[in-house]
Symmetry: C2
Subunit: 228 residues, 2 copies
């Protein structure tokens, strides 16, 4: 029985993603203002890291490009740590080619246009500064239209209203294949479960509220099915 | 011998801060831009939390007001968790009276003048936003000139150059008693040790590079000596 279980795990059926390379992003990005200050997004990295682990469990070789998080590295995964959106894009492009891209990171839309190399000093009596922002690269759209585009590109959308409608629009606008639309109207950022809708060219699958690990396993199985 | 050791710990000599209330701040502050974005400082909270633990070990009742950190709560300490500088000041004032105030947090000098209650959307083709900043309250200066001013108010200064000179100026400008001047020119933010200079009305003590726990113990001993 033990041998049979091991065999099942090692068999092609148990490792349907063997021989595939999956690129996953996770966590927030930090955009520097000066050497001690930065702009950040609220993202724990729990969902992205769980997806990396789930893909590795199905046999994929996984490259995880992670922003600053405190969740532990998933076992059996190559982890590349970055801070800013531009660093994340560069790490993703350097990791190509890939068969699968799951862009679960909460990437900052903007960075500070002119980050200071010196700590901004609060001069007595001086006015507070004005931070001019600049648009960051769009990692999901860039990979979706890349000359070495992964065969299956999956984006995430965290929405508080019109979740599916916004996700459908985002899928077309970004040029990706699937959107995992996360209903965050209940304030689940950083929590342990997610309620998602999987938006594909074929339609919408409504998943029940599930622990993040279960969302990851279900997504990994759907990926294996789509590539199988 | 064991009994003697316990007696030494429980005796007035081993608990010179018994009956004293110490207020300690630690960690960064997070200043909201909108519900998912914020401005942060680089601060692990390791030094501030170690100071809270060291003061408690000398018998003080300790209130630790902490920004968002991942270091564990020190044992035997009342921990109040806050996010923004304004929340930190409110928690400190509510914790008065105190005999000792050690302001080790890296408080944001500025917040976003008009934080948005809705997530800022990246409209296709739209320009990046401009963030107008507003001055945050100065917690160290406020406590130093408070009508219920703690008897011993200690501030921190992280400096990359002219460390002692800047700390001397800061001590006078803020109205506090001591400044623990931290030489961060080696890029030690988030590291395990600090090289500090203790700047008082009487002069400057140059301490060697020490693990953060040792800096904390030495500072707690100096506080006990000053109050003794």
């Amino acid at each position: 029985e033990i041998l049979a279980a091991i065999e099942a795990i090692l068999s092609p059926a148990g490792r349907p993603l063997a021989g595939r390379h999956a690129l996953v992003t996770s966590g927030p990005t930090h955009e520097p203002i000066d050497p001690v200050r930065y702009i950040a997004n609220r993202s724990s990295g729990k969902q992205g890291h769980a997806i990396a682990a789930a893909l590795a469990a199905l046999g994929a070789r996984v490259t995880l490009v992670s922003g600053p998080v405190v969740v532990p590295d998933p076992p059996g995964v190559t982890v590349l740590r970055v801070e800013s959106a531009r660093e994340m894009l560069a790490a993703c492009e350097a990791a190509l080619p890939a068969d699968i891209a799951v862009m679960a990171a909460a990437v900052a839309d903007w960075r500070v246009a002119q980050a200071s190399t010196q700590k901004l000093k609060k001069a007595p009596g001086a006015a507070a500064p004005i931070l001019e922002m600049a648009l960051n690269p769009d990692i999901l759209a860039t990979l979706s239209r890349h000359q070495r585009r992964p065969g299956l590109v999956i984006g995430f959308a965290a929405e508080t209203e019109k979740v599916v409608e916004h996700a459908r629009e985002k899928r077309l606008r970004k040029g990706c294949d699937w959107i995992v639309a996360n209903d965050v109207s209940g304030g689940v950022m950083g929590g342990e479960s997610n309620t998602v809708h999987l938006v594909t060219a074929g339609g919408v699958e409504d998943w029940p509220e599930l622990p993040k690990a279960a969302v990851a396993e279900r997504l990994a199985q759907r990926i294996a099915q789509a590539l199988g």
